[in-house]
Subunit: 287 residues, 4 copies
């Protein structure tokens, strides 16, 4: 396979024919956003799309950098899609993957700065302060293996065993096939993180099997592999091996990454804290 | 107790008489540094010093900001003291506590940036690259509870259970009684972190009992509690309750904190990687 | 003088008698904020308050950290006070002083991240994009002399001569006498920066005389000098000379500083961009 | 021109024939580094290379990330090349261009953190502290126009007029044609910054003509324009217009950028402070 993409939607577009047994596709749309849900329920579907059985929702949105507040149809469809994947109750552990030193890989850490952590707030404090009842949320940025010496999955697994969440949400930067996906796409799925996905490209699986609880992954494509671009341009694999370590990003990748991180954080905070108003969440969602 | 200090040495100085059963004290000195080792072996000693049984080494050094390279007698005595507390073999987990957003509490995170993480490097890679045999080291910055929703101890415990180190080194910023301690003092001990110590002042115990492996704590005092200062100046507790949330720090706390973090990192890297030369470690120890 | 404060209001409180020729004082108040305007118009007033002739507005507000959106009476009185000091037209240069590496001195740089810079946007672009007419604003963070080798005032003066603004707004962290001022106070004045004020404590004058245009200073007290605290507690100067390099700050100084910086940035953006709605400015005011 | 490169060496490689009147080329080499000096002295040479008359030195080095200390032949040839371009005496202003929020554009700001600023140190202090005589150096990071509202050249020009340096050194990230240049190349020249060069791609000229003093530019290529890569792969301009806003960078661009910034800072500090030993400079050159 000479084309690399972490997006189920792009893999689906690459299929020779549209209809496959055990692959179901449906759409929803509003003025700023179109959601495509691909559901894989057969092994034939797994093979065809190169992804495990489960639900993949891709949001195609107006550009994150159109300098709007992002609190429009995009946010609404993100909240709805995420709510559909989340268990109704129980502590949620948000694990923000990526390297804060590499702009297009910093989606996770930037997002973590904006997620409301609430698990440590005693119930008595909530009552005293007359806060609305908050859902327990924990947030970690495990860092990258090159700096910690530990697999990201091991860190998340160790904490999962300690705090026993009802579900884990993993946030990560993704690779797309097409540069037009950058800054305009969000993917949610209920199958966690696949081996080899992400910008850093060295992840092991982080999913229900490895953690023992449901794992929802939310990702934003921020790079295209240079080798994929080269293949798409020339129709053959690049002879220059240095391409394999190169990525293609927009020149304003910092603005796209920050806007995308804020949009995801808003979506997670809204989906988890149903007792807070939209206005309260917007004002609380800042690093 | 109106005086707050995390330093065993300062607690010892406050004792009405010098000799206590089960409290042993010894000294070592070079041109830049004096090491005082206080060993508590009795319950009487525990009560007198308000600290659990164990070994406490306080290094009193030339000012961290005397713009030298720090690679002098200070580093040598730090390496020697740390080596004396460390198990000879096995993986070491370094846990860097503190809040990178508050300068005097950022010792841990700044230090973590400079510790060599090696546990993920496959033995075959070491052989291929003809690297000297490296000791397995893992490094985490668990962040602060207000942002994660998780007790720091829970995070470290979860990871400890996963990677099963032979020992944990915890790095933290401390509170001293005297402002003259700031920028000139390092404390090492084999009893871990006590409840209520550190700059953030809300830690639960992190020690052999809670983690199941030996826990070495390395700390640098970077603040004096304003209430302690006030008591020392006036001989009574401050009436103004707002003092309890105030800390006293040097105006150049950023320089002191950075220099202190680098010194600790150098000491840890040298004590753990005995197969690398001093020069190799100095050149590798940069954020 | 054993008491250090950059607040005209605290200097006024220290006067032996309230009435002084050429010192006029007036008040305005709403539910979240009280504004005290001290106007010094005589040399007697200058001597009594130790401040040059001009207008000093002190806002005493609800705590910045009461976790509200800050967009209440505080913001309204800040906008009104600032509008009263600003020239109606012309480019405004915002100069954000301070050291981003020292939390309580980082008000300026944090604020600069949130000020809308508009001077570079071509008028044709505004028309094409159908933007409302924006006032020309330039923003600089000149850094600290220890890192640049240049006096802050020299940098601002050099840029002022190039871009010829109708006025300069200087943002700085201040020292107060009382710890109760921290996180609850904003000072505005039309006399610029005095020598020796600020957290770093080494500023030279930055004012109409040195820059050739009106200079408005906006400051937030974030520290109390340890020597001042000591004097207030004991009634005499501290014998311990190390006090002179120490400052007292709240333990949550990072949260106070961030909230204060955002409040000032909101105020400046609202006061300067009268053609944008409050909602537009709030959504655009993020780092 | 479908190929974009800021490197004189790459432009020279693109020439149909090697010999051009008024273009002189010479070489020097050691075990880690090869220096190619291209001197353009005729208008024919200017047209052929698309660069103004002057001296361009390109250092082709071992990879910055070969995890050595960098203090080898690379540093020596960098110091020698820079010394050859610098005036012997007088204050030097170092201006570090670029956006610290975009990893491959952050060479300048990262470098500025490591340059020794000395201009503010009074001569008496040097004598008292028995420091060797230091050359006056000032350092600024002017930021990017989108955040300041001011052209970078205006800021540098304003400060130049204030402090009247004998020369300005401008540091910037560059675009190369070939990905093999990334992390292995440094360019020095005495013609300053050309319009449209750099990663941000919007610079106006910063040179002797605009500043009134000699301007030395030091740059490291950290990106390849996606449109250039596409042209090189396919032989024609990309039809997809989104390519024009895309850049190609290595996946470990953070490590390359940090190592490159440190190497340049070491070179500048050594070339400017001839009275400090290599060891003193290495120990002082840290952020």
């Amino acid at each position: 396979m000479n084309i690399r993409t972490d997006l189920a939607l792009e893999r689906h577009e690459m299929l020779p024919r549209e209809e496959i047994n055990g692959v179901n596709i449906s759409f929803e749309e509003n003025e700023n956003c179109r959601a495509t849900t691909i559901e894989i329920s057969s092994e034939e579907g797994e093979r065809a799309l190169g992804k495990p059985k489960g639900k993949y929702v891709t949001l195609e949105t107006d550009s994150f950098t159109d300098s709007e507040v992002l609190c429009d149809g995009r946010l609404e469809l993100l909240i709805k899609s995420l709510t559909g994947l989340l268990p109704r109750e129980g502590t949620v552990l948000v694990a923000a993957l990526g390297n804060s030193d590499i702009t297009p890989d910093a989606i996770g850490p930037k997002c973590a700065d904006c997620i409301l952590a609430t698990r440590h707030i005693p119930k008595e404090t909530e009552k005293e302060l007359k806060l609305p009842r908050l859902r327990d949320v924990a947030v970690i940025s495990p860092g990258v293996t090159g700096k910690t010496g530990i697999e990201t999955g091991e860190i998340i697994s160790g904490i999962t065993e300690k705090i026993k969440p009802s579900c884990v949400i993993v946030i990560d930067a993704l690779a797309a096939r097409s540069v037009t996906r950058l800054g305009t796409t969000i993917q949610l799925c209920d199958t966690g993180i696949e081996p080899g996905s992400g910008v850093g490209n060295k992840r092991k699986a982080i999913n229900r099997e490895t953690l023992g609880v449901p794992v929802i992954a939310i990702g934003i494509p921020t790079v295209v592999d240079a080798a994929t671009l080269s293949f798409d341009l020339t129709g053959k694999s690049p002879r220059d091996s240095s391409f394999s370590d190169m990525m293609v990003t927009p020149k304003d990748t910092d603005i796209i990454t920050s806007a995308g991180a804020r949009l995801i954080a808003l979506g997670i905070n809204c989906a988890l804290q149903k007792n807070l108003s939209r206005e309260e969440i917007i004002s609380l969602t800042s690093a």
